[in-house]
Amino acid sequence: MIVAHRKPMEEILRSIEGIDKLALCGCNSCVAVCLSGGEREVRILASQIRIARQEAGRLIEIEELVLERSCEPEFVEKAAEVVQRTDGMLNISCGVGVGYMAEVYAPYRVIPGLNTTFYGVGLGEGVFEERCGGCGDCLLDRTGGVCPIIRCAKSILNGPCGGSQDGNCEISKDMPCAWQLIWDRLRDQGREEDFHVVEPVKDWRTATAAGPRRLAQEEIAVDRTEPA
């Protein structure tokens, strides 16, 4: 899932300062799973904002809504009436949702309430961790399923570096060394020999191209706009 977490409260309150009829919109997908932007978080944040405004002696009307997904037109369309009735929106979807909402309803103002950070896994008990670097050229089979780009602090493709100790990265005893994990995996898979293979210099163009990357599934896409 895409993992995001709520912005600091002072930043949120400052960003909605001028708005007295506010839409507060969350999303039932990734950000609900990581407990940052789902229905529960919408209700709590709305309540907090109303209390904050009461403390400041000013009123605010908040319309709360939650979309199934914020990244597809059929769901974002459902926000139309709330957008009509309000002066601006605090959106606690991921950055994709915030930007898309802003695009669909431009020039209506859409303010992010979360900081979007990484693609990750839920490890349980409210803990989420980054797992994929979005590099566009997946090499997970060569590394036993451990992504060296994101789980190695130096994105080393021929690891480990000299700082690996006791299975930990030199940065911190709480951070496992990705190359220790890779070594253990390949060994357990009986693929120790693969460790000798030199991973060549990476073509990073699939990772961060010039501008936003784009996918058009040719079979079904009717791509009306020319890619840049």
């Binding site: 021929n158 570096c161 000299g162 690996s164 210099v201």
Partner: protein, 323 residues
């Protein structure tokens, strides 16, 4: 589809033709036990610091490493400091990390270094920027150190850049990689050394050695695979003035192995500085006895004045004159 580069470095064998114009290479190929020093550039534009520190190495070292923003703290660049060393009559080994530069900047810097008369380069991943004074920086890591060794080797021997374009006058560097015999996973360390040899490293500089037993064991594994005949291995020594320094390294530097008896020895010493020099001299002498060790890399770390004393005390003078 990745391939194993099996170019190998037959270069380590004595009497082999020189691959670069490096004086250090000539010392090693003539079977002399090589001596490298190390100098940390200042956190300023003060060229006179380099001039001053150089005096401790001239006549005592075959080559001197210039660190590259070590511990991710901003310092004068390795290449600039190296040129200042050349002007003082030293042979520098520049260090190049993958942390701060992409392949364009790296290759560009290497061409410039060669043009300035620099002949040796140590390829490193680089300490993580969180350790330094600019943890906010965006780190690069376009290449890793092994890919960098391979790229410099290909530039030298095939006159091409990483993209395949030709260069009429390539940088002909004597190329080093680092080796940490004490890091984990321990079983992978020799594999990683083999990989560096396979992609074309000419010589190796190891992490500072305090645990002789462990290093001897590591060299046994190295010899079993014949790696010592394919690459020149320089053993690292870091002289200390106090037990505190050893304890600090043990607690704060990942991948160091420091036996208790050394710490006790320094603690019990009447004159810790003298003891530190004595210890370093003994280390040089012990390392010299290990088959496959082609020289030492002494890293005086803010104690450059110790360097000439250690070299002299270990009986390594005079340094050889080579053509």
């Amino acid at each position: 589809m990745p391939e194993t580069n099996t170019m190998g470095s037959e270069a380590a064998q004595e009497g082999s033709p020189h691959v670069s114009d490096s004086r250090l290479e000539r010392v090693l190929r003539a079977s002399h036990f090589a001596v490298c020093g190390e100098l940390g550039p200042p956190q300023s534009a003060s060229a006179d610091v380099i001039v001053r520190k150089s005096q401790h190495f001239r006549g005592y070292a075959d080559a001197v490493n210039l660190t590259d923003n070590q511990t991710a703290v901003v310092r004068m660049s390795s290449i600039a400091a190296a040129k200042l060393c050349i002007d003082q009559g030293l042979e520098p080994v520049i260090q190049m990390t993958c942390r701060d530069r992409n392949r364009i900047a790296i290759q560009s810097d290497i061409l410039g270094a060669a043009a300035l008369g620099i002949r040796n380069v140590l390829c490193l991943s680089g300490d993580h920027q969180s350790m330094g004074n600019h943890p906010q920086a965006k780190c690069v890591h376009d290449l890793d150190s092994i890919q960098l060794v391979g790229a410099l080797r290909r530039m030298r021997d095939e006159s091409v850049f990483i993209c395949g374009d030709e260069t009429k006058n390539p940088a002909r560097m004597f190329i080093a990689a680092a080796c940490n015999p004490f890091g984990d996973p321990y079983e992978a360390r020799v594999h990683r050394l083999a990989k560096k040899v396979a992609v074309g490293a000419d010589f190796i500089q190891t992490q500072a050695i305090y645990d002789m037993g462990k290093f001897r064991h590591f060299m046994g594994l190295v010899r079993d695979r014949g790696l010592h005949q394919r690459v020149f291995i320089l053993a690292g020594i870091l002289p200390v003035k106090s037990a505190k320094a050893l304890v600090f390294m043990r607690n704060n530097v990942a991948g160091m192995s420091i036996p208790d008896d050394l710490i006790d020895r320094m603690k019990g010493a009447e004159n810790p500085e003298e003891e530190g020099i004595k210890l370093a001299i003994e280390q040089v002498q012990e390392l010299r006895q290990i088959e496959g060790v082609a020289g030492v890399h002494i890293m005086p770390a803010l104690w450059e004045a110790a360097f000439p004393r250690i070299v002299e005390g270990a009986g390594l003078l005079p340094r050889p004159e080579v053509a």
